[in-house]
């Protein structure tokens, strides 16, 4: 049996395999060091970074739902300075792709964070998180509007020295138009989806279960919708698409690739199994071997209609 080539060339970044850990589900990466050698995975996206430290949303922040999880963490984090000072030097030791997840209260802040991160070594790309439902009133975000998306990406491009992946929100009528706006604004890649705006109620108290009332739904429950969106976007854009949303198994990951994803991200699955990324990579390799596929990247977009 010949060795399967798992590597993926996204143009702006080469990955040793197509599996990245998703932002907000892999901490700053170091949390997973006790479980496996981080160099084994394609890379990871660190927790969302605002310029300043943030306390995040009031608890409770999690609700388990049927095959899903709602979170309203609200991007609690240490801010970009502490990240570059304390965390990044440790990540720079790793031989895997490190992507920072860039957040902002308004367009200006995205640009400031992106500019600041560009001054340090250790990062391979920036993921623009214009799609977090846990920050603004009513869960609104720039990725819900093609024009706001274009403006934000454009502004960041002007100051960023690193390649940009724009992360889209599924809470839209027409995901393709937002993806096209990001592409036109110069984004080097697209990742989708972020979480679905959701809610849970505690019947006994008649109160929302989340301290923040609304939160974002992730996990296997959303996979069929995320897969549909990845397929639609991959057909429309020319830049590489990174697919995510409910990926728990190697089969899930492979389906996203067949739908058009060049790479995938694994989110909620890391919580249930800290070795999830590793197992998914192993499973993909095994599948490729069994199916006589020498270069895994060949299957991207191979859906037969």
């Amino acid at each position: 049996m010949t060795m399967v080539d798992l590597s993926v060339d996204l143009g702006f970044i080469k990955l040793k395999n197509p599996v990245l850990a998703a932002s907000g589900t892999f901490g700053y990466g170091l949390e997973f060091k006790p479980f496996f050698n981080l160099d084994m995975i394609g890379g990871f996206v660190v927790k969302g970074l605002y310029f300043n430290p943030r306390e995040g949303n009031p608890p409770p922040r999690l609700v388990e739902t049927p095959s899903g999880l709602i979170n309203s963490v609200g991007l609690q984090g240490i801010g970009v300075e502490a990240f570059c000072r304390e965390i990044l030097p440790q990540l720079d030791q790793l031989d895997t792709a490190i992507i920072a997840n860039v957040c902002g209260e308004e367009e200006e802040e995205y640009a400031r964070v992106a500019e600041y991160l560009g001054r340090f070594k250790g990062l391979d790309a920036l993921e623009l998180n214009i799609s977090c439902p846990n920050v603004r009133e009513g869960g609104k975000c720039p990725a819900q509007d093609a024009e706001a998306t274009y403006r934000t990406v454009r502004k960041v491009k002007q100051v960023a020295s690193l390649p940009i992946i724009t992360k889209l929100s599924p809470n839209v009528t027409d995901i393709v138009s937002v993806a096209l706006a990001a592409e036109e604004a110069g984004s080097e890649g697209i990742s989708l989806v972020n979480t679905f705006l959701a809610m849970a109620i505690e019947l006994k108290t008649r109160k929302p279960k989340l301290g923040n009332i609304l939160g974002g739904l992730s996990g296997p429950a959303i996979k069929p919708i995320a897969l549909r969106m990845v397929w639609q976007v991959a057909q429309a854009v020319k830049i590489p698409v990174i697919g995510l949303g409910g990926i728990f198994t190697a089969e899930d990951a492979l389906e996203f690739m067949v739908a058009g994803a060049a790479a995938v991200q694994v989110g909620t699955a890391n919580f249930i199994d800290p070795e999830a990324c590793l197992k998914i990579i192993e499973g993909m390799k095994k599948w490729a071997e069994e199916n006589g596929i020498n270069r895994l990247s060949e299957i991207t977009g191979s859906l037969k209609i």
Partner: protein, 263 residues
Amino acid sequence: MIIDRQARIVEKKNWGRYFLFRLKSPEIARSSQPGQFLMIKVSETTSPLLRRPLSLHYRSNQEVEIFFQATGMGTELLSKKKAGETLDILGPLGRGFSLNKEFKGKEVFCVGGGRGIAPLFFLAKELQLLGARPTIFYGGKTSGDLPLRSKLEEAGLEIKISTDDGSTGFRGLVTSLVENELQSQKPAFVYACGPEAMMKKLSEICLKNELSAEFSLESIMGCGIGACWGCVRPFRKNGEIHYLKVCQDGPVFHSREIVWMGE
């Protein structure tokens, strides 16, 4: 942190809604401290999705024990597992109770309400090894909520029992039992685990009596390993209030740090 995907259920005990599993898991047993917990997979499907946090009830050389109450879908499913089957467990996790060598020869109180007794058996046994003199205050709604009574007695632990309905032991809240006891003796330290309201009341009693205390808190956990920021609660640190992770910074916290619910 170890993932043991094949922790065999060596023994299963059951009293009403309460269950005790003894699991063979040498590596986890070896590195466990009282107050630490496990994250346990309860389903092979995606529903329920998350692992469930359960305290280490005891550990021996090769084995660990969990003691839990079936309250919802997850613990319900777990309770249906049979001896001989295996569990996928992750642990030991979190920061446990602090075991101070100076407690040697001294009286300490361990206060448990309902299933909150779970971590206190392991704790009391370690305190005994240290040469401290633990007294366990074990409270329940009714006599059926005190299934571990004989186990504690047989282990030679000093125990005091209360039930809300007086069906056995002191009639009233376990915190009142503690208050009574404080009339005659002041312990060197208080450890507790139980319902939020019980622990809040106990922390007030400790404050009034100038007692140091540690509490094992509960919180809904996404990961148990510090990766999701989902389990936070507010805590007092250096005069400010911050959100800390119960799974990593706790689950055991000193009473002076804790901001009780509804405060």
